[in-house]
Assembly symmetry: C2
Homo-oligomer: 205 residues x 2
């Protein structure tokens, strides 16, 4: 952020980037502030004003990039959690799915899980938040999970007639629902779930 | 409700039943009012005061029977939906599970589904609501589903080493999560989910 980017009349630290592409440092500052505020007090108390104050970036700039608090919350959440949900690629699709599920479970057990619950809760009275969550979180995760399942079909580990979206739901919905119901998501339970669902997916049974 | 049950100083229609067992008519009036209010404006705007006004039963009476709005909302929800989730008993446990899942899906697609989403959403900032939901809704439903799965094991339809709570999660969590994410829960999808999960549960594979 340079002095030339400051808008006259704004308090020190408030920055405006009219028409520019997103500055990486500025974007990081906004998303970091968003994640911190979500961790501290949840989505219900989350505001773009609060992110502006915490990050030192002008409210109008934040609104230009993220038109709703839901969109900003979801991107802050994803930015902070992406490293926990990068998925493995070995020769066994079944083993990769189990690693993937354990990584997602670990992420859900942490602060990110409580933010995710807040996003789903808020989404019950705000369809745009659910839509932003679907685009930002669900769709890319589902795509990565589907790629592993398709690899398993190509490997002949899994049945060729597998219904990929249904298997994904059976593998991942229980993790998310248990989180919402405040039930534990420990690794032995995740292992059990994976074995139970994937048993019906194996080729040659 | 008789004139003898009226408390002096209360407005017409407000009734007090100190120390009595729950009057069935009065209880029905409260639960019907609770369900109507939940259907009209969701749990977030739901109050015991509103139920008192709608039902004509004194607030203090309602509080004596249901100490929190969460407890009342869940009982109102269950009272109105119980008939949709009475489960079948035939000679095929797999067929019974599919009927059960279709009945639950039908209930979730209706107004009761939106109330259930409101209860889960409210529960994210109120652990007592989640606890009341677990006791009032989840535990009895899980017990009934477990009974069918155990019958399937006894019939030798299902594997003897089935992990019943895990199978239940894989069968039912996707329905509830799709509801929360505003994704459709149609019968062909439910059939597909049941086939996908139960395929791994069958004996002799």
């Amino acid at each position: 952020m340079t002095a030339a980017m400051m808008t006259p009349g704004k308090t020190a630290g408030q920055v405006r980037l009219a028409g520019r592409p997103r500055s990486s440092a500025c974007r990081q500052a906004i998303l970091r502030a968003a994640y911190e505020l979500l961790s501290e007090s949840g989505l219900r108390n989350f505001t773009i004003e609060g992110v502006a104050a915490r990050s030192g970036v002008a409210r109008s700039t934040i609104y230009r990039w993220w038109p709703t608090k839901g969109a900003l919350a979801i991107e802050g959440f994803l930015e902070a959690t992406a490293s926990h949900i990068t998925f493995p690629h070995t020769s066994s699709a079944k083993a990769d799915l189990k690693v993937q599920m354990r990584l997602v479970a670990k992420m859900l057990r942490g602060g990110a899980g409580r933010i995710l619950c807040g996003i789903i809760a808020e989404g019950q009275s705000d369809p745009e938040t659910i839509a932003a969550f679907a685009v930002g979180y669900l769709t890319p995760r589902r795509r990565e999970c589907a790629a592993i399942l398709r690899r398993g079909i190509d490997n002949r580990e899994f049945r060729a007639d597998l219904d990929i979206p249904t298997v994904q739901s059976a593998l991942y919905s229980p993790l998310h629902l248990r989180l919402l119901l405040r039930e534990p998501i420990d690794d032995p339970w995740v292992e059990n779930l994976a074995e139970t669902v994937l048993r019906g997916c194996l080729a040659g049974d």
